[in-house]
């Protein structure tokens, strides 16, 4: 492994934004293809971050710092990757369901997914079934995530899934649900594709769904 890629990984792990930017520029100057810098520098660095986070050695705020550094490097690579098709993992539409105004969980999941390389279309809070459907259509998203904190708003999850069916696009998108009162059996009962109990596993589940 080239030195510069190792340096990028190290700086990313330490959340050193400027270091990552410098490293990415240096790698490109040395003639490394953008795709390789992304895969072996940035994403490989985030993988290590993810492993240590799961092991309890890194905390969420630190992971978010690393993700920030990664995105700073990614911004330099993006124009070079456009022609080749993005190597990002995919688009995901997320939001808190209709009637629910709580978003810290959804925001945490968004930040973790961004760190993992997903492109997020965040619809915010109290998102109607129609808005979810519209966003999936407009963005061609392959993944959709719904969050709820209040048990009274959970029925909206089922309504949204039905909305996707009516629009004829249920088959085009994988649906992931979560939130404090949401359970795996509830997810199954409404026809969602997956459930995740916390932000970290949401990333793993999203990765599996996109494959």
């Amino acid at each position: 492994m080239s030195n510069v890629l190792e340096e990028i990984q190290k700086d990313l792990y330490s959340g050193k934004l400027d270091g990552v930017k410098k490293g990415v520029k240096k790698a490109l100057q040395e003639g490394l293809p953008a795709q390789e810098v992304l895969a072996k520098g940035l994403l490989a660095g985030m993988d290590k971050v993810g492993k240590d986070f799961k092991a309890g050695d890194l905390f969420i705020p630190e992971v978010l710092m690393c993700a920030k550094a990664m995105h700073a490097g990614l911004d330099i690579l993006k124009p070079l990757l456009v022609g080749l098709g993005t190597a990002l993992l995919g688009k995901i539409v997320i939001g808190t369901v209709a009637g629910d105004l709580h978003d810290i969980g959804k925001n945490l999941v968004r930040m973790m997914l961004e760190g993992a390389g997903f492109e997020i279309i965040d619809l915010g809070v109290s998102v109607s079934p129609e808005k979810f459907v519209e966003a999936v259509k407009a963005n061609g998203a392959k993944l959709m995530g719904m969050s709820a904190l209040l048990t009274t708003t959970m029925p909206s999850m089922k309504l949204t899934i039905e909305g996707l069916k009516k629009a004829g696009i249920r088959e085009n998108v994988k649906i992931l649900v979560g939130g404090a009162p949401v359970t795996a059996s509830f997810a199954e009962s409404i026809g969602a594709d997956a459930y995740a109990p916390d932000a970290a596993s949401a990333v793993d589940v999203a990765r599996e769904l996109i494959m």
Partner: protein, 487 residues
């Protein structure tokens, strides 16, 4: 021989110094002036601008001047009573008075009493819980729990109808809309006999919360106004989750929730000076390894004590968690977490202790946990009473009578004071191993289960008079019809 009642203030514990309390107050005013709050409704923005706050209608940001906060603080009542259908069960919330406890509100999952299985609550469970809470002396007022087979729209109204039927204790509410809230107030009016009667004796109260940090959406603005109009006590529930919706530092998190409370005071008192409010911080930390906002933590305990100190500084009643836990059942972790949280809150001078029966944060309630929490509350109440130190209790003559090597068992002093001095627990095992084995080797949780079953079997709630019940039924039916026809 019963002991004299004394103010609990003599026992209050502190985590903040006087200077730190004043600093937090000052900095809260700074935050309100500098950063301000976001107010979601145009009506709210208008009212605040009219009163002199700086309002940006585009960003909905409101900056509140210090003088406005100080003016509004002056009109908040220093005490109020949570009235009960049965006046003997009234809960006066007053500085230095004993704390009153209630169950955790909003749960809609349960652990089955027979199988221990985690499952959704149904109406039958709701009734069972209301009956149990009515029958437990250590639970002073009741908060709602909901069944999955209750109507999705109007479940708060249906819940209140059930609560009135199963208990004559004060009922604390959760409302899912301004419309249903007003219906619930009208139901309470029927029970006490009119709007003025309800103001004098509020048999219901409410809890509402801004979204931390600093967002006051229409739900809470409307609640603050409606409660003010009807004279219904409102818990201003401020609950930033330290590390995510609040600063990770405890000082910062306390500063934030204190700021949010003051904003609630302003919104309330501008519209209804003198409206009864309770300071209700629910300090939480977010576990930054997992993203879970935690119910139990020693940090939450410390922040709760700080919250009580701020409330005392403002001379406003304060509601804190007693029982709360992240455990999945009424197990050792649960007992451990809720015991220290309850003790800290009670010794800090809380007026209301909330959370009985609740496990897995705010999702689940269990009968066994309610019975255990009843025990914890009554034990803590006994601690707050302290013990009397005077000539009689010293028993100098008894010591002299008994003399060296004697014993006090049959002495008249012992006979006189033995019942008044002690607390008699229901759930604690205090005998020999042989006796324990002979009676089935039952552990703490099992004994709690037995006590729950026995109360459910034998307790007879004080029924609602028939005419009131009928009037409530009529109101509930028409309200539900209305909600269905005009959503």
């Amino acid at each position: 021989m019963a002991m004299k009642k004394r103010s609990t203030e003599r026992m209050w514990i502190k985590v903040l110094s006087k200077a730190e309390i004043e600093e937090i107050h000052k900095k809260s005013l700074d935050v309100l002036e500098r950063t301000g709050i976001e107010v979601g409704t145009d009506r709210g923005l208008k009212a605040l601008r009219k009163a002199g706050a700086k309002v940006n209608p585009k960003t909905k940001r409101v900056k509140i001047p210090k003088k406005m906060v100080m003016r509004c603080l002056k009109t908040v009542p220093k005490k109020f009573t949570l009235a009960a259908r049965n006046p003997e069960k009234d809960c006066p919330l007053v500085r230095g008075g004993r704390p009153y406890s209630r169950n955790g509100g909003g749960a809609d999952y349960t652990l089955d009493l027979e199988t221990g299985r985690f499952r959704p609550m149904m109406l039958a469970d709701v009734r069972s819980y209301f009956k149990l809470m009515d029958g437990l002396d250590g639970i002073d007022f009741i908060a709602p729990v909901f069944g999955h087979d209750m109507p999705s729209v109007g479940r708060d109204i249906v819940m209140l109808r059930e609560a009135f039927a199963h208990t004559d204790k004060h009922i604390h509410l959760r409302a899912f809309s301004g419309r249903t809230l007003e219906t619930m107030f009208k139901m309470a009016e029927i029970v006490v006999g009119g709007k003025e009667a309800l103001k004098k004796r509020p048999v219901v109260s409410l809890l509402e919360a801004p979204i931390s940090p600093l967002k006051f959406l229409d739900v809470i603005v409307d609640a603050l106004w409606l409660c003010g109009e009807y004279g219904i006590p409102l818990d201003v529930c401020v609950m930033p989750s330290s590390g995510s919706t609040g600063p990770v530092t405890m000082a910062g998190n306390v500063l934030l929730f204190n700021t949010e409370f003051l904003a609630g005071v302003v919104i309330s008192q501008l519209a209804h000076p003198g409206a009864p409010l309770q300071y209700a911080p629910r300090p939480m930390i977010m576990d930054l390894r997992t993203g879970f906002s935690l119910a139990g933590s020693i940090e939450a305990g410390m922040m709760a004590v700080a919250g009580a100190q701020m409330a005392h500084y403002y001379d406003i009643p304060v509601s804190l968690h007693g029982p709360w836990t992240d455990s999945m059942s009424h197990d050792g972790q649960s007992t451990f977490e809720r015991t220290y949280l309850t003790l800290l809150a009670a010794l800090a001078g809380a007026n209301a202790l909330v959370g009985a029966g609740m496990i897995q944060e705010s999702l689940v309630i269990s009968h066994e946990q309610l019975v255990i929490d009843d025990e914890i509350h009554r034990t803590v109440l006994r601690a707050l009473e302290g013990f009397e130190v005077n000539e009689e209790r010293f028993g100098l003559n008894a010591i002299d009578r008994v003399g060296p090597g004697g014993n006090f068992l049959a002495d008249e002093h012992t006979l006189k004071f033995l019942r008044g001095e002690r607390y008699f627990p229901h759930l604690l095992y205090r005998n020999s191993r042989e006796a324990w084995e002979a009676s089935g080797s039952k552990d703490f949780e099992e004994r709690a289960k037995e006590r729950a079953k026995s109360i459910l079997k034998e307790h007879q709630p004080n029924r609602l008079p028939e005419d009131i019940g009928k009037a409530l039924d009529a109101l509930v039916s028409s309200a539900l019809r209305d909600l269905a026809n005009k959503p």
